[in-house]
Each structure stands twice: as structure tokens, then as C-alpha cells.
């Protein structure tokens, strides 16, 4: 790929998008977003190491980019026009705060830390217990803490379980195609649990097309996409 970007550099999809646009020396606009869409998708495909808990956020932006690109390529498609510049303005705002964060970093770099007292003056260590506290109440307090932790210790597992990695999906599509020489995109995503999974499937499909493992045909706009194994395509 023409762009050499390392994952650690990016904390999120907007950061990645900005970098891609800057590499093209363009301003943030619908046109520049459409232009970097392919690079963005390529980046996702080349980085299976994106942590699963972050992948969902990257994929949402991927789907919005695809929408923008399809609108520019197919201008007669104007469904949901009011949302069209959503990503553009979001990115502009993000950029303002990103720039501000560099100013903040410079301020911190000057090390003009302000110091305060930490200890109370002239206080002898005595013994001042909470008069009303009993052991039963302590057990209740501890249980409440455990309950609060529930939300935190379970969440990451939930994200990991629900997020489908692009590479897994590619493997899945390849396996399905190996068995049947052709299949429809609709049947592939029929059981998808989320929009993300559909986007992932679509990205996986694009990837396979690029690898020339499959060819796709679509008779009419919004018709189902039919996927054929290359060696099985009738001559």
C-alpha cells in the first residue's frame, strides 16, 4: 500500500481518517472522504490486530464512508440526504479538539505544575471511627461494589464475543463458497446480528474480489449480489 501507517498511531477511526486525508493533502470534504474510502478499507483489512473492542467503531465509520462514496458515484441515490455531511462535520469538530490537544500537550510540556498542601497542619493521628458503622452494613457496602464491578468485568467479554473480525468473516465466506460454487450476499448476511456484521461481510467480499478469488454480479441496483467462485464462473 502507498501509505505506511502504524496502528499504534491511531486511537480511533476519526484519527485514521484525518491522517489519510492529510496524506492526500486535501481538506475535509465529501470528495476527500470518498477519495480515501478505499485506503481506509484497505487499512482495516491489513490490520487484523485492531483490538476487537475498537473494531466496531472503525467499522461504523467504514459504513458511513461507503455511503458517502456510493452517493458521489451514484448521485441519483439521494436517500437519507440530510445525513450526508454528518461524518464531514464530525470529522471537522474532531480535528479542532485534536489540534487543541496538541496545544494542551505543549502547555503540560512547560511543566508549570501548581502545588498545594497535602497534609492538614498540626493534626495528630487519633482514632475517630464512624460511630454508626456495623459489620452488616460493611457487607452491604462490599456487595454494592461487587455489583458495580459486574458491568465492567463483563463488558469487554461481551464486545469480543459480538464483534466479528474481518478475517474470520473472509474465512467463512471462502468456506461457504468452497462448498457451493455460488451464493447470494443476502443469504450470507441473513443471520447477521447487527449492521456491523453486514458491513464486515461486505468488506470481506470486497477483499475477496480484490484477491480475485470471487466475482460478483448484480443485475439491478438493490438486487441481491451473487458471488461466484472464479474457477467456477461459466466461460
Amino acid at each position: 500500500m502507498a501509505f505506511a501507517v502504524r496502528l499504534e498511531k491511531f486511537e480511533g477511526p476519526l484519527d485514521l481518517l484525518l491522517e489519510l486525508i492529510e496524506q492526500e493533502k486535501m481538506d475535509i470534504s465529501q470528495v476527500s472522504l470518498a477519495k480515501v474510502t478505499d485506503n481506509y478499507l484497505a487499512y482495516l483489512n491489513e490490520h487484523p490486530d485492531i483490538p476487537p473492542e475498537d473494531l466496531a467503531d472503525f467499522l461504523v465509520v467504514a459504513s458511513r464512508l461507503l455511503l458517502i462514496k456510493s452517493r458521489i458515484l451514484l448521485p441519483f441515490l439521494n436517500a437519507g440526504e440530510e445525513q450526508a455531511d454528518d461524518l464531514e462535520s464530525q470529522l471537522k469538530i474532531y480535528k479542532e479538539y485534536l489540534d487543541a490537544s496538541k496545544v494542551i500537550q505543549a502547555m503540560i510540556g512547560k511543566r508549570r505544575f501548581l502545588f498545594v498542601h497535602e497534609k492538614l497542619p498540626h493534626v495528630e493521628i487519633g482514632f475517630a471511627p464512624p460511630e454508626k458503622l456495623g459489620t452488616g452494613q460493611m457487607a452491604d457496602l462490599f456487595r454494592a461494589v461487587l455489583q458495580r464491578l459486574d458491568l465492567i468485568v463483563r463488558v469487554p467479554t461481551a464486545i469480543i464475543e459480538k464483534t466479528v473480525s474481518i478475517h474470520e468473516k473472509i474465512k467463512h465466506i471462502q468456506e461457504v463458497i468452497a462448498r457451493a460454487s455460488s451464493l447470494s450476499f443476502r443469504s450470507l448476511v441473513m443471520n447477521a446480528e447487527s449492521r456491523i456484521e453486514i458491513v464486515v461481510s461486505f468488506l470481506a467480499l470486497l477483499e475477496l474480489v480484490k484477491e480475485r478469488s470471487v466475482s460478483v454480479t448484480q443485475d439491478k441496483l438493490f438486487d441481491d449480489i451473487v458471488i461466484n467462485k472464479i474457477d467456477a464462473v461459466p466461460a
Binding site: E11, V61, R64, V103, I104, I108, R112, F113, V116, I196
Partner: protein, 211 residues
């Protein structure tokens, strides 16, 4: 005299004091206290002085002046360096300018789920949750510690504060974020992927209410 009382309490207190707590301690009402704090701050916050009055929301604390940082740091043999990772910096910047800010608003601006980073910053005492009730989720703001770290008397002194705080586009995009139909992509994902707002926040303002 009220301002005298407040000044003495600010000098001995080893933590940020809320206007409410100051009013309670000094036996005055909150408006009077707020006014007296303004007066005290006007006396201290001058270039030639070595002590400052810091403000963070309705919290007040007394500290050394930014011009003396190096001297005081050496005197205390303090080893703070101030290294922050990029995600921390970015989140702190948005929370500093826009705080108190809700988690969905923050996520809308950053485009990523912010549960973990917020938790991390709260553990480090750089961000705190405020105003959480049974009916309302928490909002987040930077702590007095972070204000001290920046070397300003309050976040209002940050460059372009007014512009970045009330950016027209931010308002617009946040309005869109609140409409379920439009522009909810980022917030919607969080839900879909199972990352729906873990309540890692707390009802307390940790730095201001230790006892």
C-alpha cells in the same frame, strides 16, 4: 469578615473546597461565599504573586503560582514528569473544554467508545464524575489536579476556550446525536457491540469530598 474566614480555610484545607462546603464552614450563604471568593482571587491572581486561587466548577483551592513551578518542584523534590498518552490527552482536552460532558457526547466527538479511557482517567484522578443521580447519568469534568497540571487557574483560561466550548458544529452534531434517527452511528455502535455505558461512575466528586 467572610473573605478573611474563607482565605484561612483555603490556606489550611488539603483538598479542593466546594462553595457549598465553604458556606457551611463559614456559616454564610453560598452567593456571599462565591462573591468573597471572587474578591480573594482578584487579590491573589496577579502576575507578581506567588500564590494562586484555582477554580474548577464550584470548587476552589489555593496553590503556588505557575511562575514558581520549577523552584517549588525542586524544593519538594517532586518527580512529576507529565507524560500522557495520546488517547488520554485527547480525552482530557475534550473534557476540559466541554465539561461537564456526558459519555455519549464525548463518544460522539471522539468517534470511539470511551468507557475504558474514562475509567482510566478517573483512576488517575484526572477526570471525575459529577451529578449522577438515579435519574440522570453522570457527567464528567477534569479534576482540580488536572487544572494544576496545566498550570492555569481554571479551564476557562485555556486557549480559545469560548470557541471550543460552544462550537456551533458541536452543538449541531450533539443535537443530531440525540435524535435516534439521524447521525447516531457512533453512539449506536456502542450499544450494538455490547459496550453500553457501564456505570463506572460514582455519585461522589472524589477529590472534593474525602471525609
Amino acid at each position: 469578615m467572610l473573605s478573611q474566614k474563607i482565605e484561612s480555610i483555603l490556606f489550611v484545607a488539603a483538598r479542593p473546597m466546594s462553595l457549598k462546603k465553604l458556606a457551611e464552614v463559614c456559616g454564610a450563604d453560598k452567593e456571599e461565599v462565591a462573591k468573597a471568593v471572587e474578591e480573594i482571587a482578584a487579590v491573589y491572581n496577579r502576575d507578581e504573586r506567588g500564590v494562586r486561587i484555582l477554580r474548577n466548577g464550584s470548587d476552589v483551592q489555593m496553590s503556588t503560582a505557575p511562575a514558581c513551578s520549577k523552584l517549588v518542584q525542586d524544593f519538594l523534590k517532586d518527580e512529576t514528569t507529565g507524560e500522557l498518552t495520546k488517547p488520554s490527552l485527547e480525552t482530557l482536552t475534550i473534557v476540559a473544554y466541554r465539561g461537564p460532558i456526558s459519555k455519549p457526547e464525548l463518544e460522539q466527538i471522539r468517534g470511539v467508545n470511551c468507557s475504558l479511557i474514562l475509567r482510566n482517567l478517573m483512576l488517575r484522578g484526572l477526570v471525575e464524575a459529577v451529578g449522577e443521580t438515579d435519574n440522570a447519568p453522570a457527567s464528567y469534568r477534569v479534576t482540580m489536579d488536572f487544572v494544576r497540571f496545566l498550570g492555569v487557574s481554571s479551564v476557562e483560561e485555556l486557549p480559545e476556550y469560548d470557541k471550543l466550548r460552544s462550537h456551533e458544529n458541536v452543538v449541531r452534531i450533539l443535537e443530531m446525536a440525540q435524535q435516534p434517527a439521524a447521525g447516531q452511528a457512533a453512539a449506536g455502535t456502542a450499544g450494538e457491540s455490547g459496550a453500553a455505558a457501564p456505570a463506572v461512575s460514582e455519585p461522589e466528586k472524589s477529590s472534593a469530598e474525602p471525609a
